[in-house]
């Protein structure tokens, strides 16, 4: 590490009070009745809260201590809900810690999102100034870098168009261009590279690399382990709000991939209950019910499937209204977060759809699953009319184990897929 500490975090904790969740109103009478009772209930809750023993308290961060030396590029790794975002929010002063102290010695900029403060009615030019000011640039600094920002975004022609008329790609390019021209001593970056087209992502990664080589201190959060490994020298692994590993990025990534938190739910059974899955993004109401996996001969598939093995997934779900325009998709991601393969009812020309409401089961058969050995996360989604209405991320894990796929006893050590192939000499 070397160099003096530029960020010192000491026994940092943050707790949230969980809101009291109530059942939705069933009918108008109940809604009116509860509406009338609400003030009285709110009053008793407020009074009770003061004496409450803290059962409805969630610790998003618990007793975190670490320091970052000047010039370090630190990757923060952890599963959803491990406390990465909370940590960044405290370091960026967006929210206060509950306990502990952070000392920051330098000008800090944080980038938790691209395009913060963009207003759709304003032109590209106006938004560069507004966004720059929001991110902490002085007007004189924005003036000086204006041309460079426009060049980086490659959009001089649209400067005087309101950004609401921009395509989403243009929007992201402009937003990132402003952010890329910040010049802080410490830069905090959340998962912002997951947006934009591939070419632009590469350009941003390049710019980030430039930034980190420029001796600047960077804290970087991403689900993309390849990006973390590529950019960062030091890795922190968070788990359930605690710091569980602090070391080189390579070791941190290995630690994370092997840790029990990365192993995922339902490791022992072939059947996964999706209706109560904790990995459902909060905006979705459960419609997916159950995922069952089978392999050759209809045997239940609980964990290991050989390379090239038969794979069958049965997805049970419920449709609120009868429709025929529904689709089910299953995506295979590797543990580094790279998307490997997606199968979808929409891709099968022989799939016979019929109008249906209520419970249904979609069965997907893959005659030969030709992924290379490794662990994969399954993401299940239900779509109606091309819109996702329910998603379970990381519904379960699947391990592909080596097999004699080619019949030669040999198996590639690298790559993502095996495919049948022939060689000949002439």
């Amino acid at each position: 590490m070397g160099g003096p500490a530029i960020i010192e975090v000491e026994r940092l904790s943050k707790s949230y009070r969980l809101g009291i969740t109530r059942a939705p109103f069933d009918n108008l009478r109940e809604a009116l009745f509860r509406g009338l009772r609400a003030p009285a209930e709110a009053w008793t809750r407020l009074n009770k809260r003061r004496k409450e023993d803290g059962r409805d308290i969630l610790w998003a961060l618990r007793d975190l201590s670490f320091s970052v030396a000047e010039g370090d590029v630190v990757g923060i790794i952890g599963a959803n809900g491990a406390g990465k975002s909370t940590l960044l929010k405290i370091l960026s002063r967006i929210t206060d810690p509950t306990e502990g102290t952070v000392r920051i010695r330098g000008r800090l900029s944080s980038l938790l999102e691209v395009g913060t403060g963009f207003h759709p009615e304003l032109t590209g030019r106006d938004n560069i100034y507004l966004n720059g000011a929001v991110l902490g640039m002085r007007k004189s600094e924005i003036d000086a870098r204006f041309d460079a920002i426009v060049d980086f975004a490659e959009m001089a022609a649209f400067l005087d168009t309101p950004v609401k008329r921009y395509s989403s790609g243009m929007y992201v390019r402009l937003a990132f261009a402003v952010a890329a021209h910040l010049d802080p001593e410490i830069l905090i970056v959340d998962e912002v590279l997951a947006v934009g087209d591939l070419a632009f992502q590469r350009k941003c990664l390049g710019k980030m690399g430039e930034v980190s080589r420029g001796g600047r201190t960077v804290l970087f959060v991403s689900h993309n382990m390849a990006a973390v490994e590529h950019l960062c020298r030091i890795g922190l692994v968070l788990e359930g709000g605690r710091l569980v590993f602090h070391g080189s990025t390579k070791e941190a990534v290995e630690y994370y991939v092997r840790s029990p938190a990365a192993e995922g739910p339902g490791a022992e059974s072939h059947s996964t209950d999706l209706s109560r899955a904790g990995t459902r993004p909060p905006q979705f109401r459960p419609a997916l019910r159950r995922l069952e996996l089978f392999t050759a001969g209809g045997a239940p598939l609980s964990a290991n499937i050989p390379v090239g093995g038969y794979f069958r997934a049965e997805v049970r779900f419920a449709l609120e209204r009868p429709t025929s325009s529904f689709d089910v998709s299953i995506r295979f991601d590797d543990l580094l977060g790279q998307r490997i393969l997606a199968v979808n009812t929409a891709f099968d020309p022989a799939f016979e759809r019929r109008e249906h409401g209520g419970e249904l089961e979609a069965v997907c058969e893959i005659a030969s699953l030709t992924l290379t050995p490794g662990s994969y996360k399954l993401r299940v989604a239900l779509l109606v009319g091309n819109t996702e209405i329910d998603v379970v991320e990381d519904a379960r894990r699947l391990t592909v184990v080596p097999s004699d796929y080619y019949g030669t006893g040999r198996m590639p050590r690298t790559g993502t897929f095996v495919v049948p192939h022939r060689w000949s000499l002439r």
Binding site: I94, D96, R103, T116, L135
Partner: protein, 274 residues
């Protein structure tokens, strides 16, 4: 490269006033937010900036027809339309600005949950964006004074002080409403209602001269009572009731101090509750 500045982040406890030095440091951002609010307020409207004068002019016309002609309410000297318009200029600024301030934090939750800056800038910018409308209306006042051949009084030198007191009152009420609204959305429903009622307990339609003396002290608790009185005195040479003006000014100051403390206390949890 590490600079000498050291920032310490710790849990904050108890009551603290807003850090005025920090606000000053962020004055450029205040300017940008204010300019944004002005730019987008009338975006995609046909009348655009004309809306700033349409509202008080229409209200003045209705008040003159209804309350002056039909109900016989009199001004305390100047022609009634002029009298009503001066009151409306101040009142409409106040009511628009506090409504915008109350809604401002909710409307900017994206900013609040993604980037740090003194949160008070958001309601203050929302208020500041209406100063432009107010200035335009002062020009209309000048035009009306020429039209009615009403002489400019020497009291006009007090106009900046009147504006200052009005801004103090607006900022105080605006900060309080904004902070409360972030935590309790009840404010959203209460504000339009109280703004409507407020017009009737502020001497906009009528003059304080028409109100029995014993109610003056009660009306003076409304900061805008003194502000409207002071505006009429400085622009139209209406008789000034200094006790009422002084009382309102004192209330304004108390509201501002209260607003600064309350906002600071509640702002810690904005990002968590919004």
């Amino acid at each position: 490269m590490a600079s000498e500045i050291e920032l310490v982040i710790q849990p904050r406890k108890g009551w603290q006033a807003i850090d005025l030095r920090e606000l000053w440091h962020y004055r450029e951002l205040l300017g940008f937010l204010l300019w944004r609010d002005v730019r987008i307020r009338y975006a995609q409207t046909i009348l655009g900036g004309l809306w700033a004068v349409v509202q008080p002019l229409l209200a003045m016309a209705i008040f003159t027809a209804l309350f002056h002609r039909m109900a016989g309410i009199q001004s305390d000297g100047p022609p009634y339309p002029l009298f009503a318009f001066v009151g409306l200029t101040a009142w409409i600024f106040f009511s628009n600005a506090i409504s915008a301030a109350a809604a401002s934090l909710i409307g900017n939750q994206q900013l609040i949950s993604k980037v740090y800056f003194p949160r008070a800038l958001i309601p203050l910018a929302a208020i500041g964006a209406f100063v432009l409308d107010f200035a335009v209306n002062l020009v209309i006042v000048a035009g009306m004074m020429v039209y009615y051949r009403w002489p400019l009084s020497a009291g006009v030198v007090w106009l900046p002080v009147c504006v200052l007191v009005m801004l103090v009152a607006t900022a105080g009420v605006g900060l309080i409403l904004a902070a409360l609204n972030a935590h309790y959305r009840d404010v959203k429903y209460a504000v339009p209602f109280f703004v409507q009622l407020g017009l009737f307990v502020t001497p906009v339609i009528y003059s304080l001269a028409a109100v029995p003396e014993r109610f003056h002290l009660v009306l003076g608790l409304n900061p805008m009572t003194g502000v409207v009185e002071a505006f009429r005195h400085s622009l139209l040479e209406s008789p000034a009731r200094w006790s009422v003006i002084g009382e309102s000014a004192a209330v304004s100051l108390v509201l501002l101090v209260l607003g600064l403390y309350l906002f600071r206390r509640m702002e810690r949890r904005f990002a968590d509750v919004i």
